[in-house]
């Protein structure tokens, strides 16, 4: 039940970010706020990527399989700009290393 409420809240919040500026009279935001908004997406992406890649077991930073898979994924993302290839090659790297290390 709380999952459904969460999804409904997500829908409402998302719609608000798209609709309020279109429906309400809106002044240009102050320049600094505009800049902060511009760096919001890369910042939150990085905040979501770093822990599972660098702290896979939640304890402390470790240079493990997930780090190598993440580095390979970053190179593929940089060279190809393809989400599909990034995910497939990154997962492949993880699987391969796992099989080699045997953990």
């Amino acid at each position: 039940m709380s999952t459904w409420l969460t999804i409904l809240a997500m829908g409402a919040v998302t719609f608000a970010t798209r609709a309020l500026p279109l429906l309400a009279p809106w002044r240009q935001p102050p320049p600094f706020l505009e800049r902060v908004l511009r760096y919001m997406p890369p910042a939150i992406f990085a905040a979501l990527i770093a822990p599972p890649i660098l702290m896979p077991s939640g304890g402390w930073v470790e240079a493990g399989l997930t780090l190598w898979a993440g580095l390979v994924g970053a190179v593929v993302a940089w060279r190809t700009r393809s989400m599909a290839l990034t995910v497939v090659v990154g997962l492949g790297t993880y699987g391969l290393l796992r099989a080699l290390v045997g953990s």
């Binding site: 969460t6 309020l20 279109l22 908004l37 997406p41 910042a43 939150i44 905040a47 997962l91």
Partner: protein, 253 residues
């Protein structure tokens, strides 16, 4: 007839073109909607792996099939849905997940702000429908037509947005249907689908020193904060710190 044309122009706005009767204006709008829908179909190829990956990540995080599909139907915002899935997997509460959704989708505000003056001639119902269908690609494909006030620009924009919405929901559903038989997501490394998908979204954004600073500060803060702050709050704190750092670097130049 002249009165009708005036009424139609008043109802649909300057984009309908002067001198067109109501029926002609309607046909023009429909044609523009269809053009926008079809012009966006090639982007389905870009949506497809994203939708499939989202479905897999959703199931891996413990959401039911219905919940995973409903999220695409009701939210229609890929990046924030991936963020929410990561938080669901970590046992995040409703408030923090809604806040994270808000933070990721704050980027829509500049899009919508830039479009607002071009759409004031539309009724608020139409503007609300356009708002729901607004996405990065539909904005990118339509903004020029809208800024030139080309005939049917708003209908084209809507067609493009609806096209992406349809493909997003279809691909999520396909992922749920075909990804159901996966035995142990973690042993296959499927918990990495989400960070790897985000990597593909993040790397193209690294165009400036300020963006690098935002990313490095946010990543570092996220690692440190995850040791002290509960659940997804560490992500929000890190995102706030990183984006302010990026803005400060940009402001100094």
């Amino acid at each position: 007839m002249a009165t009708n044309a005036k009424l139609a122009t008043a109802a649909i706005g300057p984009s309908a073109g002067a001198g067109a009767g109501p029926r002609a204006a309607q046909l023009l709008e429909w044609a523009a909607f269809r053009d926008g829908f079809l012009a966006t179909v090639p982007l389905w190829l870009y949506i497809a792996p994203f939708g499939l990956a989202f479905a897999l990540a959703g199931r891996a995080a413990g959401l039911t099939a219905a919940e995973t599909i409903a999220m695409s139907v009701l939210v229609n915002a890929g990046a924030s849905q991936f963020a929410a899935i990561a938080l669901f997997a970590g046992g995040g509460d409703a408030l923090s997940i809604a806040l994270a959704t808000l933070v990721v989708n704050l980027r829509h505000i500049p899009f919508a702000v830039s479009l607002a003056p071009l759409l004031t001639h539309l009724s608020w119902v139409r503007r609300a429908v356009l708002a729901f269908s607004l996405s990065d690609p539909s904005y990118a494909l339509s903004v020029q037509k809208l800024q030139e006030r080309a005939p049917g620009g708003a209908a084209f924009f809507l067609g493009s947005g609806i096209s992406l919405y349809v493909s997003w929901v279809l691909c999520t559903t396909a992922g749920v249907l075909f990804g159901g038989g996966i035995p142990d997501p973690r042993s296959l490394g499927l918990h990495l689908v989400f960070p790897l998908s985000l990597m593909a979204l993040l790397v193209p954004l690294l165009q400036s020193r300020a963006a690098w600073v935002a990313v490095l500060v946010a990543g570092g803060l996220a690692l440190g904060a995850s040791l002290v702050l509960p659940g997804s709050w560490s992500v929000l704190a890190a995102a706030a710190g990183g984006s302010v750092a990026g803005a400060l670097v940009e402001a100094r130049r």
